[in-house]
């Protein structure tokens, strides 16, 4: 059961709402916990045991840090052991075979003999997401930002809350604890807001992401040859499909939680309006970026070693070089871990390397860029410079998403080569467009759907609460919007026979 299935909308969610409402306020969070355990178990069956183990380590780790502090003992050891155990489970379950593969390659390279055999590993759903939440929870207690929770079941609910467990957003304890356990009764206002968000998510997914899904899968088949223009289209559609799939699912997630008056942090904020790669990452998968910023980037930049370097560098090598080295030292672990977090696959790790290089280049080239604009007499905040920056950022995003989606690095290189070497069109353009299983009707719906989404997002840049204020419109206008969107999904959605809903790609991480 995923968030985009009829079982979730027509059975699971209504049953949870009913159970939640019928439970006394004090125990409503228990109803949410029951629903979350059921949701987890329905997808990962007995692998929920791993989530329970992580929750137990997180809970006892937090309590012990607190107790050590109370008796005046340094809690660093407890923190370290807890983090090693929590991250260790993730590492063993997700990266054992990846490590074995690398070891085998080394052994084969050195001696030419067969190496270690692979181990069959079953990975529970959402392990990458709840592990980051667990790490954040432990570090926040250690840094005295929060107090340790004294109820194990509440820690478990925080980690496996059903709307967030599959794709995030990655929450901090301080973000959600008050809302998760307060048990406020279902209210019309919250249900309406939640449903608006869910319908909007379905619009993005069913009109665009699900319609493009089969084509995107075909694009990356090893046997598929794409000429220059098709590589460009592939890159563009891959990015659009991924965005509509992920942000659409997050809309459903945020809407589901909102029904219970739990306001989850936003995960996207008009990412394609970014004017730099750094800004893009402040708008795309925000909760992951925030997590890395809080728990990796800041601790590195405020570490003693970096502080010493900053003092030394400013005196001896100048401000520019000091800044570049500091940025490199902080960005490197962030992007290596970001790539690795997505999964044990070379393309994900290279995706991290790619953004490390791009972001460092942005830091390094920023002063030169300013000088160029000044010499040309272009205002830095002018439409022209902003336009150039946006187009440059789109190019970075498109290449990055193709690397992210490619089956292997070799395939990515081949595709990039095809774009610049060989026939740009070769007269096969329209043939290829049809060959990937999309007809003119599909392209028409995708283009119109994209236009609606992007126009709305452009407006949301100035008015971020556009969806929130929808219920304030006059009845006629409001109903027109509701019926319009719902009927667009009903008629133009890619569902039913002949369609396969797009996999929740981030649920695999």
């Amino acid at each position: 059961m995923a968030y985009n299935t009829n079982i979730y909308f027509l059975l699971f969610l209504p049953i949870v709402m009913l159970a939640y409402q019928l439970t006394p306020q004090k125990y409503r969070w228990v109803a949410l916990l029951g629903a979350s355990v059921a949701f987890f178990a329905m997808i990962s069956k007995c692998l929920i045991g791993w989530a329970l183990v992580t929750a137990a380590i997180t809970y006892y780790g937090g309590r012990l840090i607190e107790q050590y502090r109370q008796i005046g003992a340094p809690p660093k050891g407890v923190l370290r052991v807890s983090l090693i155990l929590v991250v260790g489970i993730l590492a063993v379950l997700k990266y054992t075979n990846f490590t074995i593969g690398i070891v085998n390659q080394v052994i084969a390279g050195l001696s030419g003999t067969a190496g270690l055999s692979f181990v069959k590993m079953m990975v529970p759903i959402g392990i990458s997401f709840y592990t980051l939440q667990a790490v954040g929870y432990l570090l926040d207690i250690y840094w005295k930002r929060i107090e340790a929770e004294h109820n194990f079941a509440k820690v478990l609910l925080f980690l496996i809350f059903f709307p967030t467990v599959m794709e995030g957003p990655i929450c901090r304890w301080s973000d959600v604890k008050d809302q998760l356990f307060v048990g406020e009764a279902l209210r019309e206002e919250n249900i309406t807001q939640g449903l608006i968000r869910i319908v909007w998510g379905l619009f993005k997914r069913m009109l665009i992401a699900d319609r493009l899904y089969a084509a995107i899968s075909l694009f990356y088949k090893p046997t598929m040859y794409l000429n220059g223009i098709m590589v460009f289209i592939c890159m563009f559609l891959t990015t659009i499909q991924l965005y509509m799939e992920f942000s659409g699912t997050i809309d459903i997630v945020i809407g589901s939680a909102r029904i219970f008056n739990i306001r989850l942090p936003e995960n996207f904020r008009q990412p394609f309006l970014a004017k730099s790669a750094a800004e893009f990452w402040r708008r795309w998968h925000i909760s992951l970026g925030t997590w890395f910023k809080n728990y990796i980037f800041y601790p590195v930049t405020t570490s003693d070693a970096i502080k010493k370097w900053n003092r030394y560098g400013k005196k001896h090598v100048g401000k520019y070089l000091t800044n570049v080295v500091t940025s490199a030292a902080a960005l490197f672990p962030v992007w290596m871990l970001n790539g690795l977090w997505h999964g044990p696959q070379a393309t994900y790790i290279l995706y991290g390397v790619y953004y490390f290089i791009v972001l460092l280049a942005e830091v390094m080239l920023e002063p030169a860029g300013r000088k160029v604009y000044a010499r040309l007499g272009w205002s830095e905040d002018g439409a022209l410079v902003n336009g150039i920056r946006m187009v440059r950022t789109w190019c970075i995003i498109l290449v990055g998403e193709m690397l992210f989606r490619a089956q292997s690095f070799a395939q990515f290189i081949t595709l990039m080569k095809n774009m610049f070497v060989g026939p740009w069109d070769g007269g096969a353009f329209t043939g290829k467009l049809v060959e990937v299983g999309l007809d003119a009707g599909d392209y028409f719906v995708v283009v119109i759907g994209m236009m609606i989404v992007f126009i709305l997002e452009w407006k949301m840049e100035k008015k971020p609460d556009m969806l929130e204020i929808l219920p304030e419109l006059s009845t006629a206008k409001r109903w027109l919007v509701y019926y319009g969107v719902i009927m667009a999904i009903v008629v133009f959605g890619a569902y039913g026979d002949g369609y396969q809903p797009a996999d929740l790609i981030y649920a695999g991480f």
Partner: protein, 325 residues
């Protein structure tokens, strides 16, 4: 009260918007307006066929309707057939198509292409399908919502009693595929149960059920062949594997496939239809319908079909030359 009234009105209008257009979307409306397309389209197309006019029903997934040309069987034997396969069909979909067909037809033979038997449907998907089917029955608009795509698809693919003419060539250049295969596969128990249901439905209507496998290096191998031989034996069914007969059929993988051995093009389909036609003539009692009332309609269709075939042959020759070079 006013507050609740508004909510009830909103839901009532929404349900009406979804329900009312669906009531117009019956089989006649869909076929008359060329709106019966996609996987579901076949139900409407079968429903509008005149009663008791189809003697051979071909069922399965895309492997079925790319191997049997009903117009060729009509021309050669006067048999009336319908290629009622669906793209990506599961065996449960095939059962539903048979159910629709048997409402008005009394076929003498049902040819079931076996690729559907290997399409596994996970249990949680079955629950989803059950929910979807219930909703689709209540709101036909949801089931037929893709009708708006007809102007885009109908223009591209014209079918003749379910058979599309494809002149595309993309050769299969792999190794011989019916040699010893190491692939381990199985026929799902649920699929076997559904096959038995299909068998009972056919027996109740006095139709002979025959299993056949379309030539397809992509979908068949010796393991599957063996499984199907055993299944047919266990169920007391006749089984024709066209993959073990490709030499007799004279299938030339350099020109007879449209997608590297997944499906046949019309050149390949002509060969398999000829083979199956001979089998039907020799092993089944099927009357010629040339003197029947329906013959006029079939002859009219044949004229259109033959004109289309002529154009397709030219195209096929052009495409073959590309690969000869």
């Amino acid at each position: 009260m006013k507050k609740y009234g508004k909510k009830i009105a909103f839901i009532a209008i929404l349900l009406a918007l979804i329900y009312i257009p669906g009531t117009w979307m019956n089989a006649k409306f869909l076929t008359r307006n060329h709106l019966a397309n996609g996987k579901n389209g076949i139900h409407a197309k079968l429903e509008v066929e005149p009663e008791d006019t189809i003697d051979i029903l071909v069922l399965g997934d895309s492997e079925s309707y790319t191997t049997v040309s009903p117009m060729q069987l009509w021309k050669q034997y006067g048999y009336t057939a319908y290629a009622a396969g669906q793209p990506g069909a599961k065996v449960s979909d095939t059962e539903a198509v048979l159910k629709t067909a048997l409402k008005k037809q009394n076929p003498k033979v049902v040819l079931l292409e076996t690729n559907v038997l290997f399409r596994y449907e996970p249990t949680d998907k079955k629950t989803q399908s059950l929910i979807s089917d219930t909703i689709y029955q209540t709101f036909p608009l949801l089931k037929n919502h893709n009708a708006w795509k007809s102007p885009f698809t109908e223009l591209r693919v014209k079918t003749y009693m379910g058979f599309p003419i494809s002149a595309k060539i993309r050769p299969y250049s792999g190794e011989p595929y019916m040699v010893d295969s190491k692939e381990t596969t199985r026929i799902d128990e649920q699929n076997q149960k559904t096959l038995r249901k299909i068998q009972t439905m056919c027996a109740d209507k006095g139709a002979k059920l025959v299993l056949y496998s379309a030539p397809s290096p992509k979908n068949y191998n010796s393991t599957k062949h063996q499984l199907l031989v055993e299944l047919a034996k266990a169920e007391g069914l006749e089984y024709i594997d066209l993959n073990t007969n490709t030499e007799t059929l004279a299938i030339d993988w350099s020109i007879d496939t449209r997608d590297k051995g997944d499906h046949l093009n019309f050149s390949g389909a002509q060969k398999t239809t000829a083979y199956l036609g001979t089998y039907l003539k020799n092993s089944c009692e099927i009357p010629s319908r040339r003197q029947d009332e329906c013959a006029k309609h079939w002859n009219r269709m044949l004229k259109v079909y033959e004109a289309h075939i002529q154009r397709a042959e030219v195209k096929l020759d052009e495409n073959a030359k590309v690969y000869e070079m």
